[in-house]
C-alpha cells in the first residue's frame, strides 16, 4: 500500500496517456484529501480519475436538486461519504421518538440518490462509534445510536441488492481491520475537518478503486498457489504426504488448514485455483489424495503443474491453458526468490509479499482485498469444472489431426435466448469481465441489461455452449440495435475466451443473420473499437465476410443479409 504522500506525488505525473474516468465525490465533511488519495490511487491502477468535488457539506442539496451538476454532468461514478461522526451529531439533536427513525431516514435518502442517478453509486457504510451512552445495553435500545448505525449498515446491504447501481464500500470493514483509533485521528479532524487519519486515506482510496476496477472488468480471476510451506507446512518430498503440517490441534498445522479453507471459499465463489510447484507431480498430488486433513482436493484445482521448470514458465503455461490475462492472476508463494522471479518475468501478475510466519498469511491477505467483484452469480461456482473440462478438451484435440473431425466429435449444442431474469446477472457479469473477445467493450450493468431486454430498440441474444466434456454455461452475447427499418447495428458482441476456436463466432453470426432476415432487415453494421486488450478481434468482421466501410475515425463493417450464405459450423441449436 502506498502512503498518502506517494499518492499525492502521483498527481504530478503525466496522466495524459491514462484512461479517463469521470467521478463525483460528495461528503458531509472535508473531502479534499480523500479526493487526492483517490486520484493518486487511480494513477497506481492506470486510471485518470477526473474528479468533481461538490462544495463542502452539500450532499443533501446536490442529491435533492435534480438540476444539480450531479445529474447534469456526464459522470460514471458518484462516491458518497456520509460520516458516522456527522450522523451522530444529527442523531443527538433529534427528539426521542425521531431517534428510532434515523436509520430509515438516511436509507430513504440513499434510495432516492440511487433511483435518480444514472451513475454507479459508491457509498461508504458506517464504521461504528461506540459512544457508551447506554454501554452494551444499547443493543436493547432501538433509539440508541449504536442500534441505529448497525441497523443502517444492515439495511444498506439490502438496498444494494435491490438497487443494482449501488455498491457499498465497506468502511466499517476497514475499521474492523484497522481499529477505530487508527481510522480516526482527532488532530486531523480538528485541524482539517477530515474524518479519516492520514494512514487510513490510502486504504480507503484503495478499496474505492477496487470497486471501480471490478466494475470496469479488472477483477482477479485466478489464484496460483505454491505447495510446500504455502498450502501446507514442510516439504512433501522430504516429509512425505503423512508428515506435512496440516490440520487442527496444537501447532502451525491449523494456520495452513484455515488458509486452505479460505482458498476453498474463493474457489466456490468462482476464482480459478491453479497449482504451480517445484516438485515431482506424483509426490505433489499425494497429500491431496491421501492426507485426510487436506481441505483442498484435486477436484478443486483447475490446473495442476508440478515439475522442476522455472515458475514464470509454468505460469505462462497456466495462462495458455486458461486463456485469461496475466493481470487477472494472483500468485502466492512463501519463497521470496520465486516471488521475485515471477515479478521480474511477468510484471502483470499480482505477487503479494507473504509474511514469513504462516500464522499471518490470512490476516495479511485480508488486508489486500485482492478479489473484489462487481457481480456474483451461482454459475460462478461451476467455473473450476469448466476449466478442468477445458484442459481435457486440450488433450483430446491433440489426438485429432483434422480440426473438423475434432469439432464434430465434441457434439456441441447451444441454447440461444434473449435476456431474462435468469440470465441477466450472468450477461452483466460477462459484459464486465470480457476484455479480449469484445468488439466494442461497452460495459453493461444488470439494470442496463434489464432495460435493453424491455426496450423495443434492441434485439438481444445470449448463447450457451455445451459439449460432451461439459456445459460451459452462458458464454456469448450479441446486442443488435435497430437503426431505421433496414439496418441493425451490432452494439455489442462479446464471448468468453474459454470457447475460442470452436466455431462459436460462425454459429452466432448464422443466428443473428437468420433473425435479421426474418425481421425484414437488410444490413448488419459491425464496429471494432480497439482497446489494449481486444487485439484478438481486430480482424473479426473481415474473417466473417463483412465489407469494411470507413466512418470517420472508427472502423465499421457492413454485411448484406439477403446474400448471406450460412457459415459452416458444428454447433447445433437446442431449446
Amino acid at each position: 500500500m502506498k502512503d498518502y504522500q506517494t499518492l499525492k506525488r502521483n498527481l504530478k505525473k503525466d496522466l495524459s496517456t491514462l484512461r479517463k474516468c469521470k467521478v463525483a465525490l460528495l461528503g458531509d465533511s472535508a473531502t479534499q484529501m480523500l479526493a487526492t488519495a483517490i486520484k493518486g490511487e487511480g494513477v497506481e491502477r492506470g486510471v485518470c480519475i477526473d474528479l468533481w468535488e461538490a462544495e463542502y457539506n452539500q450532499v443533501e442539496r446536490q442529491v435533492m436538486d435534480r438540476t444539480s451538476l450531479l445529474y447534469t454532468q456526464d459522470l460514471q461514478y458518484t462516491i458518497v461519504f456520509q460520516s458516522t461522526h456527522k450522523g451522530m451529531e444529527q442523531h443527538a439533536l433529534l427528539k426521542e421518538e425521531e431517534k428510532a427513525k434515523w436509520a430509515e431516514e438516511r436509507l430513504s435518502f440513499v434510495r432516492n440518490l440511487c433511483e435518480n442517478s444514472k451513475t454507479h453509486i459508491i457509498y461508504y457504510n458506517y464504521p461504528e462509534i461506540e459512544d457508551t451512552v447506554f454501554g452494551s445495553y444499547a443493543n436493547k435500545v432501538e433509539t440508541s445510536f449504536t442500534y441505529q448505525v448497525r441497523k443502517l449498515n444492515y439495511q444498506l446491504m439490502q438496498l444494494s441488492q435491490e438497487c443494482k447501481n449501488l455498491f457499498i464500500c465497506d468502511l466499517a470493514g476497514i475499521q474492523n481491520k484497522m481499529g477505530r483509533d487508527q481510522l480516526f485521528d482527532s488532530a486531523v479532524y480538528i485541524n482539517t475537518e477530515l474524518l479519516l487519519s492520514l494512514d487510513a486515506l490510502p486504504i480507503v482510496a484503495s478499496r474505492t478503486l477496487d470497486i471501480i476496477c471490478a466494475i470496469e472488468g479488472k477483477g482477479k480471476k485466478c489464484l496460483i498457489l505454491d505447495l510446500d510451506n504455502t498450502l501446507w507446512g514442510g516439504i512433501v518430498g522430504d516429509d512425505g504426504w503423512e508428515g506435512i503440517q496440516i490440520g487442527h490441534g496444537l501447532g502451525i498445522g491449523k494456520a495452513f488448514t484455515e488458509f486452505q479453507e479460505w482458498v476453498k471459499k474463493l474457489k466456490e465463489r468462482g476464482i480459478i485455483i491453479a497449482i504451480c510447484s517445484k516438485n515431482d507431480e506424483e509426490k505433489a498430488k499425494e497429500p491431496f489424495l491421501k492426507n485426510p486433513e487436506m481441505v483442498l482436493k484435486l477436484e478443486d484445482i483447475a490446473v495442476f503443474i508440478a515439475n522442476w521448470k522455472n515458475k514464470a514458465e509454468n505460469i505462462q503455461e497456466i495462462q495458455h491453458i486458461l486463456n485469461i490475462g496475466f493481470d487477472s492472476m494472483v500468485f502466492l508463494d512463501d519463497n521470496p526468490f520465486e516471488r521475485n522471479m515471477v515479478r521480474e518475468h511477468l510484471p502483470e501478475v499480482t505477487v503479494p509479499e507473504l509474511p514469513d510466519d504462516p500464522g499471518l498469511y490470512l490476516e495479511y491477505l485480508y488486508s489486500l482485498n485482492l478479489f473484489e467483484t462487481a457481480s456474483y452469480s451461482t454459475a460462478d461456482q461451476d467455473r473450476t469444472r469448466q476449466y478442468q473440462a477445458q484442459a481435457q478438451r486440450a488433450t483430446a484435440s491433440q489426438t485429432f489431426t483434422d480440426e473438423k473431425a475434432f469439432l464434430k466429435s465434441l457434439n456441441m449444442t447451444s441454447v440461444v435466448r434473449g435476456f431474462d431474469k435468469f440470465n441477466t446477472p450472468r450477461v452483466a457479469q460477462l459484459s464486465q469481465r470480457s476484455n479480449q473477445f469484445n468488439l466494442r467493450t461497452i460495459r453493461y450493468t444488470e439494470a442496463k441489461i434489464t432495460e435493453i431486454a424491455q426496450s423495443d430498440a434492441y434485439m438481444p441474444f445470449s448463447f450457451t455452449l455445451d459439449d460432451k466434456f461439459g456445459d460451459n454455461g452462458l458464454i456469448g452475447v450479441i446486442i443488435l440495435q435497430k437503426q431505421g427499418k433496414d439496418t441493425l447495428f451490432v452494439d455489442t458482441w462479446f464471448m468468453s475466451c474459454r470457447v475460442l476456436n470452436r466455431g462459436m463466432e460462425d454459429f452466432m453470426l448464422n443466428t443473428i443473420v437468420d433473425a435479421a432476415k426474418r425481421a425484414g432487415y437488410k444490413h448488419l453494421i459491425g464496429e471494432y473499437l480497439p482497446t489494449p486488450k481486444n487485439q484478438m478481434v481486430a480482424k473479426h468482421y473481415d474473417r466473417l465476410g463483412f465489407t469494411p466501410i470507413k466512418r470517420e475515425t472508427v472502423q465499421q463493417y457492413i454485411l448484406d443479409v439477403a446474400g448471406y450464405q450460412p457459415r459452416e459450423c458444428y454447433i447445433h441449436s437446442t431449446v
Binding site: Y4, Q5, R9, Q32, A187, V188, I190, N191, T192, L198
Partner: protein, 79 residues
C-alpha cells in the same frame, strides 16, 4: 537534542512533504513565507514530525504556534 538539529530534521520533513528541495526554515518562518504550506499540508507535516520524533502534539498545540520557532520549542519540550 539541540534546537539546530531539530530545525534540520524538520526542514528535511518540509522539503519532502512539500516537494521542494530549496526550502530554508528559520525560527521566524511562517506559512506565508512558504509556498504550498496550507492547512492540509500542515496536518501532513505535523503527522510526519510526530512520526519522526516519536511524539504526539495536542490539538491545541497544533493551532497555537505563530512561527516555526514556537513549533521547534514545542518539539524540544517533548524530547
Amino acid at each position: 537534542m539541540e534546537k539546530t538539529d531539530i530545525l534540520k530534521q524538520v526542514q528535511d520533513i518540509f522539503r519532502d512533504i512539500l516537494d521542494d528541495k530549496n526550502i530554508i526554515l528559520s525560527d521566524a518562518s511562517t506559512a506565508e513565507d512558504i509556498e504550498d504550506w496550507d492547512s492540509l499540508t500542515h496536518i501532513q507535516l505535523i503527522k510526519a514530525i510526530e512520526k519522526n520524533f516519536s511524539i504526539r502534539f495536542t490539538s491545541r498545540e497544533i493551532l497555537s504556534w505563530n512561527n516555526v520557532g514556537e513549533m521547534l520549542d514545542c518539539i524540544k519540550s517533548k524530547l
